[in-house]
Symmetry: C2
Subunit: 496 residues, 2 copies
Amino acid sequence: MTAYQSLEAIRKRVAALGNAMGILHWDMETMMPDGVAPARAEVLAEMSLMVHELETGEQLPDLLAEAEEQAEQLNPWQRANLREIRQLYLHANATPTDLVEKIVMARSESTMAWREARPKNDFKSLAPKLDALFSLQREVATIKSEAMGVSPYEALLDEYDPGRREPQVDAIFADLEAFLPDFVQQALEKQSAGPDILMPRGPFPVTHQAQLSKEVMQILDFPFDHGRLDTAAHPFSGGAEGDLRITTRYEEDDFTKSLMAVIHETGHALYENGRPHDWRGQPVGDSRGMTLHESQSLLLEMQAARSEEFIRFIGPVAQKILKGEGPAWDIDNLLRVYRKVEPGLIRVYADEVTYPLHVIMRYKLEKAIIADDIPIAELPIAWNDMMEQYLGIRPSDDKDGVMQDVHWPEGILGYFPTYSLGAMAAAQIFATAKTAEPGILPGLAQGDFKPLYGWLDKNIRSQGCLYTPDELIEKATGAPLGTEAYKQAIYARYMG
Amino acid sequence: MTAYQSLEAIRKRVAALGNAMGILHWDMETMMPDGVAPARAEVLAEMSLMVHELETGEQLPDLLAEAEEQAEQLNPWQRANLREIRQLYLHANATPTDLVEKIVMARSESTMAWREARPKNDFKSLAPKLDALFSLQREVATIKSEAMGVSPYEALLDEYDPGRREPQVDAIFADLEAFLPDFVQQALEKQSAGPDILMPRGPFPVTHQAQLSKEVMQILDFPFDHGRLDTAAHPFSGGAEGDLRITTRYEEDDFTKSLMAVIHETGHALYENGRPHDWRGQPVGDSRGMTLHESQSLLLEMQAARSEEFIRFIGPVAQKILKGEGPAWDIDNLLRVYRKVEPGLIRVYADEVTYPLHVIMRYKLEKAIIADDIPIAELPIAWNDMMEQYLGIRPSDDKDGVMQDVHWPEGILGYFPTYSLGAMAAAQIFATAKTAEPGILPGLAQGDFKPLYGWLDKNIRSQGCLYTPDELIEKATGAPLGTEAYKQAIYARYMG
């Protein structure tokens, strides 16, 4: 076996464990009886440790060096695979094991504290746990920063969006920050000058909504022989390679939330499904980080499914399955329902126009946290001030303010930006695809996603990690990641 | 870390992988979309390989030797754990890796051939695959036989029922063989001299049967916070430590099959649940082999649930949930339904009186197969001759004859005897428990299993692998495993 082949064998084993853990995670959220939680956590911890050992084995530095010396014998996919293996090694090896173990403990304590504190609106009891966890993450960021030659925040960001650097994120977010608050006001004025928006009235029984979910997934060509839909407390896309498990949740008085969640998660799943089959189990065959992943879910949810063509197609389908009646089901009203702008406190319920503002304030706070520029006790006030500044509303409590997301209690810093970078990428990719493939919009008008998928398969999904995220976006769209397409899309949709 | 502690750490890791694989297997049979089968098989194969590597690591012989030298520092549970670890090492290490890999391939081919051949009644197309697999298993049996100082068939049997030896099985089966055929005839004569047996008439909708299953599991104290019931093509009990996943299947025209399956699998699950918690993840905390496991499922299904006390209790419960009407629901008729003797072709549908005859003929054929005393082509005729000899009926095809079970196509030889040894143990344990704890039968009459479980927990479930299977049975019942209790039980039930 060559050094490169040995590395592939190690990664194949990591992938097998990853696939197993993917199903165990899905099971935990959907099927597992409550009492099993501690036992399951132990199993997953032991498997994570095995992955960590495989990823940091003492033979790896030599294998990597030797494989890199012989790189001219590799084809481009193998070379890209080697690059990714090196990158994964860097991340896995940078953090000492005892620090990893401390973080696992601190994360568990902080997440538990959050679960208790949030319903009670009790930030004070969460604060010390959060503080401890953030301190550890600062340590990680510093260590990785030195090992990788990037800023501490970039070292965290890089794990979710490889190669992403602060100046680019700063520039994109500054652009949005300058543009969006005014745009939101204009869109709101135009909206209130128009016809009243009538929400379709429920209750919509869960069985009907589940039927609609399945129907929409069929229309979106979800491969049910390689995946399934279930209900969980939070919608997610998970599972294993070739085994796509997505979830949603149903609210009887509002079918749109679940419907959009299903489309969103299907977007994630179809990206997974379109990864290069020949490279399954190897890093180069993986999805290209979280900005790209989010671009694929948002491309379906926010671009394709918010197109007038698709809404005119799906409206009657939904009406029939949900047995909807009355003027709210008028297709022009449905268009307005689906494109309603409404600044709100909660990120996950935000529309596509206000969403980036939620993300930008989190990004700024995260940078301050990592720079140790803000004491934990001041987080709630800083949060509320920014909400007021960006969205014009001030939370009346921390429950729906600084405590609304699980990310920070889980110690996840550097992830939030990818939501909005993904939204930018989604708009940019969709705009390019529509130009390159004129059949896309007429297809959507008939519930036919093949023209869109043909382009996505060729230009995004099948590319795995052959390129870096930025290279991939530039190759696919002819331009670096930017805000232009997003701005044009929302302008057309909300002011056109 | 002492050598013994190192061994515990290795076994803990094996247990984590085993628990993960348990859930993946359950998922495969209940939730997994069909198209995922090949990918799942790869994941499981890689994990099996990891288990095999952990179980045969080159440091193991030294660790075992060192731990055994220091055994006087261990407490009795640790010593028993060490004995079990040594035993597992013996089994895992005996077979060379290339032979293991050949078997995995041959098993896969033979199982696939069986799936195709059985519906077509085409034994000829299965025969060569079966022949190849049996040859490999003969190799394994020979190698292990030499390593363990037992006969080749015993080496296979030992994997499922540690310490079980041929002379004892021969004696028990000879006893049954001499007794049962005549007894079956007598029971049939008595039965036909009695009232007609009326089968409750369906259809029984699956939803009602599922409700009955849940209700019965509640009565049996199945811990739903640590387990669940689902449907699968075949009933089984699986999952992981502290995570009991049982399955059943429903036939609309006959609710009794599913009901008995649920009770049977609950028996398996409760044995798992009662294993010593402090020893989870270690071999000494495991269940005590397949004879004991089957004793626990059959004790519930064939002994407790077939008692007049329990049938009189559960009959009206079932009638209410299934909305049953008519004279078939008369409790005396239900008693007769549940205790009907009927020689049939299919083992899994056999009653408790004819069942051992199905097993004895398989045992004899397996010994001939391992001794290479019977050519594959002659298996069907030998099968049919034995069916005629033992049960008085001759299969008209191989589909419901020699091809009915998946065991042989999967290369599983040495397992069948444990079904009937388990039935003997079930009767023997139940008889002892009833004498020791007079509250058991009155409890069953009220659907209260606590008196029975109190005794089982103390004497069987909590004992894990502290003793060998035979030691455990003898300690619990005061006598070596035999046929007496079984014969008395069926005599009382069918001739009394």
